[in-house]
Symmetry: C2
Subunit: 211 residues, 2 copies
DNA sequence: TTTCAGTTTAACCATTTGGTTAAATATATC
DNA sequence: GATATATTTAACCAAATGGTTAAACTGAAA
């Protein structure tokens, strides 16, 4: 077997280039020639290693989805204070919405085209066991039992935590445009994002009503 | 002038068809032939009335953005109870995320491609005066003054209200897939969406802490 | 009924796109 | 160095795509 030993293997360079191209343009907007250029290889190499654009896309989705879901395992399982626990969930999502924003963007692109590939990837590789909302629910039940917090729907609460962190992702994508269009000062917008976690944590714990 | 009087004018049929095609496939995935088929016209008619795919796309974005922004004007300006006021904001967004979900999808597609056209459309037609977050802020300030609610960042609060309604949109796009992939029962998922507004309103007002 | 601007059609076109192939080149093993 | 296998390249291809054109058709006004 005549195996070449490059610094980074051609096959991997192509996949990385493909992911970048899909991030920027989605499946339909991506061009195989552009992927070849990004990877600095002849276009025929894409066919050699991945056979088709669609197959390359599936590998790309698999890679990014695996990376994102791995992050979910990073939520510290045990924490005494409910604020800390909710804060940890927020931290993980803030991390994903910043460090993995590009990967998350591909996933949204894919979901909008129908999500056929996403579904396939999620159902294989039993990736889902890492999305441990069950841990959160169990923890929350304990807190309710011990009288720390009142009883509310736990799935609804979890969704509230996650969705309220979405501005972090959205800002990363279109902050400059929002600044332009709405005439908000950039420093103000950045301060808004920086203070997001603290605000949401306070809102979830205390609400706005005066008692 | 020999003007034809169809039930629905060809030009309008084409734009409607284009919007549908862009909803389903985004700009890059949309096919001019598919638009012609949807509108039941010869492909040359697209060129006759709209000159290019890009121009057609710009008209489409203009139409859907105008429709969505008009909805923002529907928030009742005056309401005595803060719960009602927040509820009204939620209602408007729930309406947009259900009745205008397809339009909203185009806007997301466009934002993900960079939002150049979206920006152009928003900056022309002074569409933005309808997005009256200022009204909400003024109202909220009054409520704080009169001791009804405690003082929190108003923009943060507004974003919390809006983002927490996003599951309504997401469900409309991928509810069936979520049911498949995560093995949630469909009735449960639908109940979750139905109860979303009530839950979020309660959470925002009262938080989860026991005092 | 002639006129003429507005509308529609079929056929056509240049370019782009994803994909393919045969030949050339590199590399490990013997 | 010979051999076999893996890798890479340039050239090529069919299909699809957005766009164009000349000619035909339509209907209201003169």
């Amino acid at each position: 077997m005549a195996v070449k030993h490059d610094e980074v293997k051609t096959k991997d360079r192509i996949l990385k280039a493909a992911i970048e191209e899909f991030i920027d343009h989605g499946f339909d907007g991506a061009r195989t020639q552009a992927i070849a250029d990004r990877a600095n290889v002849n276009k025929a190499m894409l066919h050699y290693y991945y056979a088709s654009k669609e197959n390359m896309y599936e590998q790309a989705i698999n890679t990014v989805v695996t990376a994102i879901i791995d992050k979910f395992g990073k939520i510290p399982a045990v924490q005494p204070q409910i604020e800390d626990r909710i804060g940890s969930v927020m931290d993980v999502y803030v991390d994903i919405f910043t460090d993995y924003a590009d990967y998350f963007k591909i996933v949204i692109y894919e979901a909008m085209r129908g999500g056929r590939i996403l579904k396939k990837v999620l159902l294989s590789n039993n990736l889902l066991h890492n999305i441990n909302i069950r841990n959160f629910i169990k923890y929350f039940d304990d807190q309710v039992s011990s009288g720390k917090v009142r009883k509310v729907d736990k799935v609804q609460l979890f969704m509230s935590i996650v969705t309220q962190m979405l501005p972090v992702f959205i800002a990363g994508q279109i902050l400059n445009e929002v600044v332009d269009v709405f005439g908000v000062k950039k420093a103000i917008a950045e301060k808004f994002i920086k203070g997001r976690k603290k605000f949401v944590l306070d809102l979830i714990m205390n609400g706005i009503r005066i008692k």
